[in-house]
């Protein structure tokens, strides 16, 4: 068993006008090689920041603390960041908006050429050969090589981006909301494609999303993130069937599912604003099961092998 990603109390923040806002407030997470992890959270909970920390696209005004290890490279150690030989070689990034992520002045073939040249010093012939190999894998034929991004539909653009991420031969793929710009009825196709490619190429896949239903169909593990911290981690079936954090349970009940017409139970209130520091449990304001002990920061509770929850009541679980 090789560990692909190891985070030890990882914190990532931004300096905005001389004030530090921590977006990721201490995350401990271990991802095995060749598994799919799905990080689910609402907007502003720091999941995109976590993605950019793994892929190495943090802006220069970002601050870090803790430790991040990718395979045997220590990437973040306290305030030091060293992404040499990481970007494109170990991690690849699948961005959120395919429409603005491709250069409108380059054809798909040239995209492959520039990506491969920067990583392997390859020439045009070689990059074309690789592109021809990979495009069928994402259900595109080689005629798209001559096309410019605006000639492709949104779904095709997303496939091209996935193909580009595969071409670099990186072991860790990080997809940041890969379906949010795609129509609801096409989302499953893209997600299943990602899952199939992950199994075929034995990659480590991190999917960042707020879409619990569609995305969770492909992943092995689910991590629920809230206000900069991971609330619950565990194997997919266990988290969905047997949620040990009230937030997970409420998130499941609030998600609309087609064909199941029940009254939605919304989570009262709004997520806490970015950058605030709390001594108490982060979910305290919105939690219907709160009691006295919840005013202290909850320790991580082990429910089962590789199923953890950050809630004092995880073991009793009154919501089940």
């Amino acid at each position: 068993m090789v560990l692909a990603i190891v985070m030890e109390n990882l914190k990532v923040g931004y300096i905005i006008e001389d004030e530090v806002f921590w977006a990721v407030k201490g995350v401990d997470l271990v991802v095995e090689e060749g598994t799919t992890l799905c990080i689910i959270g609402e907007s502003g909970c720091g999941k995109s920041t976590l993605a950019s920390a793994i892929t190495g696209i943090l802006p220069p005004y970002a601050l870090t603390d803790g430790k991040l290890k990718l395979f045997d490279h220590v990437v973040i150690n306290g305030q030091l960041r060293n992404y040499n030989g990481i970007r494109g070689k170990i991690t690849a990034y699948i961005p959120q908006n395919p429409g603005t992520s491709l250069n409108p002045f380059l054809t798909v073939e040239e995209h492959f050429y520039y990506v491969l040249r920067s990583n392997f010093k390859s020439d045009r012939e070689f990059s074309k050969k690789i592109a021809m190999e990979i495009l069928p894998k994402v259900n595109l034929d080689s005629s798209v090589l001559e096309k410019y991004p605006h000639e492709l539909s949104g779904g095709m653009q997303q496939r091209v981006i996935i193909a580009l991420a595969l071409a670099t031969n990186a072991q860790i793929l990080v997809a940041d909301e890969p379906t949010s710009f795609i129509d609801a009825h096409l989302r499953l196709q893209i997600i299943e494609l990602l899952g199939r490619l992950q199994r075929e190429f034995k990659k480590t896949l991190i999917v960042i999303t707020h879409d619990l239903l569609t995305t969770s169909t492909i992943c092995d593990y689910i991590a629920i993130m809230y206000a900069g911290k991971i609330m619950e981690v565990g194997p997919r079936e266990k988290v969905l069937r047997n949620p040990r954090h009230p937030y997970t349970k409420m998130l499941l009940e609030t998600t609309p599912i087609l064909g199941v017409k029940k009254r939605l139970k919304p989570i009262p209130g709004e997520p806490p604003s970015l950058g605030k520091e709390y001594q108490a449990c982060l979910f305290l304001d919105r939690c219907p099961y709160k009691s006295k002990e919840c005013y202290s920061d909850p320790q991580i509770q082990v429910i089962e092998n590789s199923h953890f929850s950050k809630c004092w009541k995880a073991l009793e679980a009154p919501w089940l």
């Binding site: 609801a184 009825h185 096409l186 499953l188 969905l240 609309p256 064909g259 009254r263 939605l264 919304p266």
Partner: protein, 277 residues
């Protein structure tokens, strides 16, 4: 204004609509037509809940513009009550459009950052002032509407930038309700919101329907949201209405490409998760 009380509130007859393409420079005065909607027939009756679904770029937003009196169709007629709105001058048209409450798509771009919430909510009532709507009456109306959509009263003194996405969407719904509309038009009301807030808004819309029974016209690309709000569904694909009917019938027996894709993807979803609710 005497209403003859027809059975429909909004009716579209053979509407073909689209945009005029403007070439750059001096040639911009000569325009060509680009058709987005073809032969649309549609009627919205009293207290009816309709969802218009379709993939992005299928002309849903254009249809809304036509109904709201903002885009004159190339051919066909749009009736609100018995008035053919595009035959009326803008001043008269607006008086009839008062009966339509419109909630736009993006709550982050739909509130003027320079105005307090109370001024935003007053705006639709301002035209009424001439007709003897007293200042104090406006104030109490605004206050009751704010309470209705579940916002605290202190929001009235705040500026939009101090509000979160869900609160902004509530303000927009309140603004649409202020003029006591007969039809509520919602353009992707939850696409910019988080899942937990999305459910709050869906429930709010349902509560409002229970209380006032306005007709609801929902535009969305997400069928799972449509099923919570609407009874009847209209599918737009390739510029035309391809499927229409009660939502349960359409879901159990989908005809169009869009619906087949959507239903099959969700069926897979349910099977894979094996979730029991």
């Amino acid at each position: 204004m005497v209403m003859k009380n027809p059975e429909y509130i909004i009716k579209l007859e053979n509407v073909t609509a689209g945009y005029l393409i403007t070439p750059p420079g001096i040639r911009s005065l000569i325009k060509t037509r680009y058709i987005v909607l073809k032969n649309i027939n549609l009627s919205v009756n009293k207290s009816e809940r309709i969802a218009i679904v379709g993939s992005s770029g299928s002309g849903k937003t254009t249809l809304l513009k036509v109904i709201l009196g903002l885009l004159k169709p190339f051919s066909g007629r749009v009736f609100i009550y018995e008035y053919d709105i595009y035959r009326l001058p803008w001043r008269e048209r607006v008086k009839i459009l008062k009966k339509i409450g419109y909630v736009p798509q993006d709550p982050f771009k739909s509130l003027n950052p320079m105005l307090r919430v109370k001024d935003i909510l007053r705006e639709p009532l301002e035209a009424h002032v001439i007709r003897g709507y007293k200042e104090s009456k406006i104030e109490s109306k605004v206050k009751s509407i704010v309470k209705l959509v579940g916002l605290p009263e202190k929001v009235l003194e705040m500026y939009p930038e101090e509000l979160s996405g869900g609160m902004r969407q509530r303000v927009l719904i309140a603004r649409a309700l202020v003029s006591e509309p007969e039809v509520l038009i919602l353009d992707e009301p939850t696409s910019a919101l988080d899942v937990s807030v999305q459910a709050q808004i869906i429930n709010l819309i349902n509560d409002i329907y229970e209380q006032f029974k306005p007709a609801i016209l929902l535009v969305t690309h997400d069928l799972s949201i449509a099923q919570y709000i609407a009874d009847r569904i209209i599918v737009i694909e390739n510029k035309e209405i391809v499927e229409e009917g009660l939502i349960d019938n359409v879901l159990s027996n989908p005809q169009s490409h869009f619906m087949k894709m959507a239903v099959s993807s969700y069926k897979d979803n349910k099977n894979k998760l094996k979730l029991e609710f």
